[in-house]
Symmetry: C2
Subunit: 198 residues, 2 copies
Amino acid sequence: MSKLLDGVVSELSKLPGIGRRTALRLAMHLLRMPKEEVADMTAAIDKFRHDIKYCKRCNNLSDEEICPICSNPARDHSVICVVEQVGDVISIENTGQYNGLYHVLGGVISPMQGVGPSDLKIDLLLDRIAQEAVREVILAVSTTVEGETTQFYITRRLEQCAGLKITSIARGIGFGDELEYADELTIAHALHNRIDVK
Amino acid sequence: MSKLLDGVVSELSKLPGIGRRTALRLAMHLLRMPKEEVADMTAAIDKFRHDIKYCKRCNNLSDEEICPICSNPARDHSVICVVEQVGDVISIENTGQYNGLYHVLGGVISPMQGVGPSDLKIDLLLDRIAQEAVREVILAVSTTVEGETTQFYITRRLEQCAGLKITSIARGIGFGDELEYADELTIAHALHNRIDVK
């Protein structure tokens, strides 16, 4: 095989979910793209990897020291939604239903993978609460074992903050999900936290 | 969303099979990779797109004017296997069962997509046969309608070459395939071209 082709296939197959066969297909696609478009793509990747910052307040990805969400005066600065990762901020922003701020933990507590509380931005969250006029913290972590552990730990830490409201996003049956395929824990949770309809 | 992140997501989602969600996942992976590794990847892509050549004899991807297969004296230069695309050369090379040369057409005849015989490297194939001592041409194109049309057209052109043997790779039931799920045309073909076992 051509060394140049082999080089690009080896590099692309380092990405998650991309094997050598997919990498070869991508390489063939790169050949059909105009050279300038390929150059634009690699430049965007390099610039992203080199220049991206983490917001000093919420740990979200940002082009500046402080991200556009934290520096937006039109948002409600008294509510912080705690999420695991940057992708979760994008998911919640896409709903258009939330106008508060965020706090990106950067993962969940996972002793199996050697991630302890000090590896997450939990102290930074407490600093923010001490310095800013925060009224409510919404916990929006995964319902995995690690997520629940993280939620439990953070709740314990936040309980020290007088007058702070601590909430969690609702757990229940998702829209489009069938009850038949939902697990018992989810159904039990959904029953227990039932809401008034009328 | 951060402009840098949005830029890299937009660029990556131009690749086939990569939507915005997958692009975001890839971007997050790029952040976890060391900066040097990301730079190596983009450099490999740029170098590939910029420096790659097509072999002047067989139209395979090559780092030089003539590819390593065509310039290898240990290979049988009297047999040419005609394939649609570069990936097919790699697939056949991976079997380790073929020692002849190749000829990459660069596609198949497809009036629907505006690809005519003149868009493929068919004249180059005839030039090679006129200049080199070619004994046999093996046609290894897809069994799609376009592939069969291409095979029919090339066969007609090659029939003009006196003393040239023209063969096609066998069509039949693949290893691991069940007869139950094979289509009638394949089964009919496989029956008609049955081989002696004893």
